[in-house]
Amino acid sequence: MEHKVHATSTGQEVIMHGRFTFADHENFRGVVQLLDDPSAKRFVFDLSGLEFVDSAGLGMLLIAREAAERKKLQLVLRGAQGQVRRMLDLGRFDALFTIQD
């Protein structure tokens, strides 16, 4: 998985591409640290470029969610499609995150 980070007026956006799997563990740790930014109120994961997510990838999103919850940040998952969208639906991520098309 490759990612780019954009700062917006209300927080940060992480644009993710490729396959999000166990191999991204180290890489994603850095992303979760971005949640420490004290000025952020809202954090968006743009998943529209993701082709595939496995259970480890979903687990990392859940880790980000716990970190965001502690900091009272809103976490948004945006643009998921195909297999990624089906996985989010399957695990009822709509009850855990703000999901946007």
Binding site: F22, L58, G59, L62, E66, Q83, R86, L90, R92, A95
Partner: protein
């Protein structure tokens, strides 16, 4: 402090064995003394090439210190013969050679020498080189032993994990009593898996059945399957599937660190009511059908271990005589073929429909045969598949 000696805090070489080969008695004694000074516990000697080859077989040295000019076989030939024997291919051989003259140094390497020490002997250099090469031998040996030990432990853990699955004697007895055909396949990916499934009797017309897949694989996921195996036995099997999953989730959630979760499906087969009642925590969609039709069922539900307050939904479908239910882990639908494709839900449904046409005993085999036909081995995720047909 002794330079190059055993007292410098390095690895102990007292268990090491060194063979000193030199036709000059004085040289042998000097070299032997220096090697002992490094801390080597066992030193053996040979006075010519042929004797050297014989002693190597008996003494099994960790390193050979070899002179070049000797009667019978010279040092180069000894080295070449050692290298031609696969069991000595990695044996460090240090050839003593004059500092001047590039030819003999090139000859030494061509003969297969690991390194060279200068002749006449420079004690400091000889001791340092012997120590370096022996330390390397010891480190590689340690690493290999560690590797072997871990591999052995993983093998026993795998056997223990297999023991969590329902034994054939139980599934056969249940199948007989409830007029079913129960076929199952379990295959851990690399070493240990995060999949587990079980089937048990609730009463004379109901069976409880679950399939569960912990996120990730390897040791952590495998340990979680042991947890679940214990937990599952503490929940009354007669609870409705949604109650059953909620109870498992409430117990599991505080035990799992953030990011670890499980997908699970619990189903009750009722042969008197001709129904299958199930609840799912995001497990792959089960397939229910008969010889003429197969359906992928809704299996949405929050993963286990994510939220303590998660609730689950009961679904009831018809499962009459002649009907079947097929449960599987996502390795079946998501494992990649060499062209990067994977089965997916639609491919799975086709595969199950085709396989449902054969006799109940052969259905799971039919699925697996086609799956293993295209999928890349070894699998990168654990595969569990359970096909239960009513007669």
């Amino acid at each position: 402090m002794t330079v190059g000696g055993s007292g410098n805090g390095g690895i102990s070489l007292s268990g090491c064995r060194v063979l000193v080969v030199d036709d000059n008695k004085g040289s042998r004694m000097l070299l032997g003394a220096l090697v002992s000074e490094v801390g080597v516990g066992h030193v053996e000697f040979a006075a010519d090439g042929e004797a050297a080859l014989a002693v190597v077989e008996i003494f099994q040295p960790d390193l050979v210190l070899l002179d070049v000019r000797m009667p019978r076989l010279d040092g180069f030939e000894v080295c070449r013969r050692l290298r031609s024997n696969p069991s000595h291919a990695d044996l460090p051989v240090l050839i003593q050679t004059a500092l001047t003259g590039d030819d003999s140094r090139a000859d030494s390497f061509r003969a297969g020498a690991t390194d060279m020490v200068s002749k006449p002997v420079v004690p400091f250099e000889l001791m340092a080189r012997v120590r370096i090469h022996l330390e390397k031998v010891m480190l590689i040996r340690d690493l290999r032993q560690y590797h072997e030990r871990v591999a052995q432990e993983l093998t026993s853990a795998r056997v223990m994990q297999q023991g969590l699955l329902p034994p054939a004697s139980r599934t056969e007895a249940l199948a007989l009593r409830h007029n079913l055909v129960i076929a199952s396949h379990f295959e851990a990916s690399s070493e240990l898996g995060g999949d587990i499934w079980d089937i048990f009797e609730i009463d004379d017309h109901r069976l409880g059945l679950f399939i569960c897949d912990f996120s990730g694989h390897g040791v952590t996921a495998a340990l979680n399957t042991f947890r679940l195996h214990t937990l599952a036995r503490q929940i009354p099997p007669g609870n409705t599937p949604s109650q059953w999953l909620a109870a498992i989730n409430a117990t599991l959630k505080p035990l799992l660190p953030p990011g670890q979760f499980a997908t699970m499906l619990y189903a009750i087969i009722d042969t008197a009511a001709d129904t299958l009642t199930y609840a799912s925590a995001g497990a792959p969609s089960p397939v229910v059908g008969d010889a003429s039709t197969s359906l992928l069922l809704d299996s949405m539900g929050m993963f286990l271990g994510v939220s303590e307050s998660a609730t689950y939904v009961n679904h009831e479908v018809s499962l009459a005589a002649g009907g079947f239910v097929f449960l599987y882990s996502d390795a079946l639908t998501e494992s990649l073929a060499s062209d990067g494709s994977y089965l997916g839900d639609a491919g799975l449904l086709d595969l199950v429909r085709d396989s449902a046409r054969v006799e109940p005993q052969g259905r799971l085999d039919a699925v697996l045969e086609r799956f293993f036909d295209y999928v890349l081995r070894p699998l990168t995720d654990d595969l569990t598949a359970v096909w239960i047909s009513r007669r």
